[in-house]
Amino acid sequence: MMRVWSSEHVFSHPWDTVIKAAMRKYPNPMNPCVVGVDVLERSVDAQGRLHSLRLLSTEWGLPGLVRAVLGTGRTMTYVQERSVVDPAEKRMELCSTNLTLTNVVSVSERLVYTPHPENAGRTVLTQEAVITVRGIGLGSHLEGLMVSTIASNAKKEDLAHPDRPSSPWRAPSDAHLEWQLLFLSAVFAKTLHLQEDSQKGFFDKHRFRVTFRSYC
């Protein structure tokens, strides 16, 4: 079972301004859970396009609870983001996927920034996400919840004001952070009624291989 979500947003700023802000979006006080951003690879190809591979590290705020329910001491989750910036065509594409929790959920998200076709002073962002949850008996409810939350957060986001590019703003690709928090909340709600020794058994029994559909 999977859900797909897409949206389009227009910034009231030219493409260059939006791209500069997009590359510098962390730290972002709207998402303090992102604690690390690293560039793993970066190069310019023969066509003059910049390719980057980045690792985003997110820290949960609930280490004790995660450990008890999920049977792991690991509380960091990771997202891998690939991007291509074409300065001649004025197109930036980012594609991100989760690297952790992949046994139970996969989120794949693509963002494309291009100048507005009718107004060079504006920029269009199109965004798509595929979310697949398997097992645990939460599948369709959780997917629906995740998709509607991500969609409503994208609408709320203050995207149109990088007039001071150094000011932080919440970028749509922070969907990964939303789903992680949602997912854990739903899992806790489901399992807290179980006895402690049953909780680990619950997760062992309900591990599923993820069918990974990706835009990346």
Binding site: V39, L50, Y78
Partner: protein, 90 residues
């Protein structure tokens, strides 16, 4: 450097690396990259990246941290289980 790009470079510099030992290298590289990106690359001059030495040092540090923390860049891992198949599926 313009005041806009200086402020932006400073903001980016406040972020951490996945490897604690790499944070200073990362911030130095980020400042160099953001300056080059805004002032050269986006304006059509993508040649001559001045940050390659900084990037090499930073990359070596990060790759080591990734191995040590066993971050699954290449594989799928969670809950202590590797790439084995699950025993049951719905």
């Amino acid at each position: 450097m313009t005041s806009e790009s200086a402020a932006a470079a400073a903001a980016a510099a406040a972020m951490n690396s996945v490897g604690e030992a790499c944070t200073d290298m990362k911030r130095e590289y980020d400042q160099c990259f953001n300056r080059w990106f805004a002032e050269k690359f986006l304006k059509g001059d993508g040649s001559g990246d001045p940050c390659t030495d900084l990037f090499k040092r930073y990359q070596q540090c990060v790759q080591k941290a990734i191995k040590e923390k066993e971050i699954p860049i290449e594989g799928l891992e969670f809950m202590g289980h590797g790439k084995e198949k699950p025993e049951s599926s719905s």
